[in-house]
Amino acid sequence: MLFDRYETGDYFDEMFDGNGGVRDHYHLVSERLNGIDRAEHLRKQTAVDLAFMRSGVTFTVYNDDQGTERIFPFDLVPRVIPDAEWTRIEAGLIQRITALNLFLHDIYHDQKILKERVIPPHYILGAKHFRREFMGFNVPKDIYVHICGTDLIRDREGTYLVLEDNLRCPSGASYMLENRAALKRAFPDLYRSAQVRPVDTYASDLRKVLQYVSPPSLGGGSQPNVVLLTPGVFNSAYFEHAFLARQMGIPIVEGRDLVVRDARVYMRTISGLVPVDMIYRRIDDDYLDPTVFRPDSLLGVPGLVNAYRSGNVSLANSIGTGVADDKVVYYFVPKIIKYYLGEDPILSNVGTFLASEPEDRVFILENLEKLVVKSANEAGGYGMLMGPWATKGEISEFREQVRANPRNFIAQHPVSLSRHPTWCRGDGDAAGDGFEGRHVDLRPYILYGEKVTVSPGGLTRVALRKGSLVVNSSQGGGSKDTWVLQSR
């Protein structure tokens, strides 16, 4: 009865096919949801919200004088992915991160891909996040990207497309784990019978990756001393930092807890200075070391980069990976895959235009009201123009910006993201509560250590506002548990 008013609309719906029938892999979920009424669903949802608030599963909202902590709204209906579909996604993601890693190694060494003009060199050499200081530097085990969060969406036909790669400090893995725990509490019987692949080895997998790329322990211990470096308690993702550190059993440190002496990193403990071997940093390159990057950064550690160069400490992810998630470089990823692996990409990109290519630029400027325009280096849904929904003022503002600095912009046809049944509150009237379709994306987490592994599932983000395509937590997004079903 909760689906009595449900409409799939003119979108790909994850749960229902074009004729309104329930897709095979959603049968159990739909059966269970049909067995409960509005009041019960509301009760379950309220219990989950309260539990998140109580245990502080929150993010901090900026631009708010109270520094309010909010929960990242969690929708109880799981997103389900059948085994065969997942196998293809997994292969595509592994292919992609493998190629990007080879690409990073190449551009920081021989730059063959530039010399052979597969990518025009100026795009890379002039990229904001290209770190020429690290030319010729060898990262441990040749791995640049240890943790990657790749955003996938589905178009009107249900085809998975890569929307962007996050190769710097992707966040959200803690929500994937907390969502799973919450869903197990809310629907224990359903979860058991659905035979879902577990995600809870993520933290121990991550720890193994960090230990794998760590240099031998400076302190002489059998295990390297691995720490998580956070900007601090005021960072919006602080909950995640503390969560992951606790799950991995490693200390969480701030810049002020570390000091560098003779190109070695130490942490300041109650027993004096203790050597640090491996840093899982959740701070962007720019803020890592005021000696080398931004001199005004109080978050980083003076001398850290020198210690890293000297091979006395490792960083995950490596410095300089940001060049590969530049949105202009994104355009070239299919070529990158072909160049290094000799394979066709398993997962396609969203069709993209580069404002710095004269032909594309003309097209973009003439069609701004039909396109999505993105800044090359922004994340979190900022610096974006959603043409079809934008005002005339916003469009002309972007027109000026694109003209002034074409290198900084790309444009894409808007993809009508797939939708998923999501619990929506009626207008103050409990009888109006029910399921409606809301747009979703998917961020799986990929770990690159001794081998490449992909978390089965990941974080499904959902744009809770009606009609909205923006799933970011800072802009009214929520999330769902993501089920990858075991093979039968």
Partner: protein, 358 residues
């Protein structure tokens, strides 16, 4: 490392076991998290008891009210901040100041917020249960409901704060690993508790002094009963001394008991144990001057009698203990938490030099 570096950075603490590496910042947060919770609980209990005590004295004029509340105010906050915000010291103003005012860093609200902020800094170190208990108390105080509970029934409100503290401390016992962190939590708890017990005793000492005529009267007994209840000690006292409430016995109990967990001596003995666990020194061996003064006070408590203290002057003695606890706080900070601050510019310069030398 050069010689100057060695002076700039603390050397490792001697003799201590190296079971786990604990950040100085973490030690500091655990210690203050624990102190603030204990402080909130004590303020709540003291206010609760004093509000109830006032029920028996309905006829007091402004001056008498002031006489009653000023010592309470002094024991848990400072007068100067108070009189910037209020004209009169009465039940309502003092209670509000010590409960809700963010301007007062020692109000229950400020204490719980600070405890929670410290807990947030060390979320990876404490158990989920501990964080949740504290966070729930924080969310309660932030809710509109908190003011309502307080204005309709202050007793229930203070009960809730005390329960949160008990829950938190019980969970600490039940879920926290016995490592250095536990020692810092205990140092914070017992140091704060000892300090508050001296202040609770000191309040009534002030009140009682001028009214010598009343000694032994009904008012006197009610006041001393309130002292005991402020330290949650009324029943324990009754079991120990099956007789009337005698001021000297009350003082003796709250100072010297080796079995009652809020007596000053009990707290100092616990502090002594934790200090030795942390430093790795033999029992009876003390390091810094602050630690030595503490050791001396503990042995005073082991050997002095209540008569000797009253001869010396109770007020003076209590103040001495407070001073020694302050010094101990300094000692803990300097020994385990303090690292010389890094001057960012000088540090950048130093690191750039080192880079060029390579």
């Amino acid at each position: 490392m050069t010689d100057t570096d060695n002076q700039t950075f603390r050397k490792p603490v001697t003799q201590r076991r190296q079971s786990q590496v604990m950040l100085s910042r973490v030690a500091n947060s655990l210690y203050w998290m624990s102190r603030y919770i204990e402080r909130a609980e004590n303020v709540a209990r003291m206010l609760d008891v004093n509000l109830q005590l006032m029920l028996d004295f309905a006829h007091l004029d402004d001056n008498q009210l002031k006489e009653h509340w000023i010592p309470v105010l002094n024991s848990a906050g400072d007068q100067e901040t108070f009189f910037k915000l209020y004209d009169r010291a009465g039940s309502e103003t003092v209670t509000e100041f010590l409960t809700f005012r963010a301007e007062n860093p020692n109000s229950i609200l400020s204490c719980i917020f600070a405890a929670r902020e410290n807990a947030r800094q060390v979320r990876d170190q404490i158990s989920m249960e501990m964080f949740e208990a504290l966070n729930e108390c924080y969310l309660f105080l932030r809710s509109r409901n908190a003011r309502e509970v307080w204005s309709t029934g202050a007793h229930e409100f203070f009960e809730q704060i005390k329960k949160s503290s008990h829950l938190f401390q019980g969970l600490t016992d039940a879920t926290f690993t016995r490592n250095e962190g536990y020692e810092f939590i205990n140092l914070g708890k017992y140091l704060e508790r000892a300090d508050k017990t001296t202040r609770i005793l000191d309040i009534k000492y002030h009140i009682l002094l001028p009214s010598v005529a009343d000694v032994g009267g009904a008012v006197d007994t009610a006041q001393w009963r309130a002292v005991l209840r402020s330290a949650s000690a009324l029943e324990a006292y009754r079991r120990f001394h099956v007789e009337d409430i005698i001021p000297k016995k009350v003082a003796e109990f709250l100072i010297f008991s080796t079995t009652f967990p809020r007596s000053i001596r009990f707290c100092l003995q616990r502090l002594d144990t934790e200090l030795h666990r942390l430093s790795g020194r033999e029992k009876g061996d003390y390091g810094s001057p602050g630690e030595k003064a503490f050791g001396k006070m503990l042995s005073d408590l082991n050997f002095l009698t209540v008569n000797e203290i009253l001869d010396r002057g109770l007020h003076q003695f209590l103040q001495e203990i407070q001073t020694i606890l302050d010094q101990l706080d300094d000692h803990i900070y300097l020994e385990y938490m303090y690292h010389p601050p890094v001057d960012l510019e000088a540090e950048i310069f130093l690191q750039q030099q080192q880079m060029q030398q390579q």
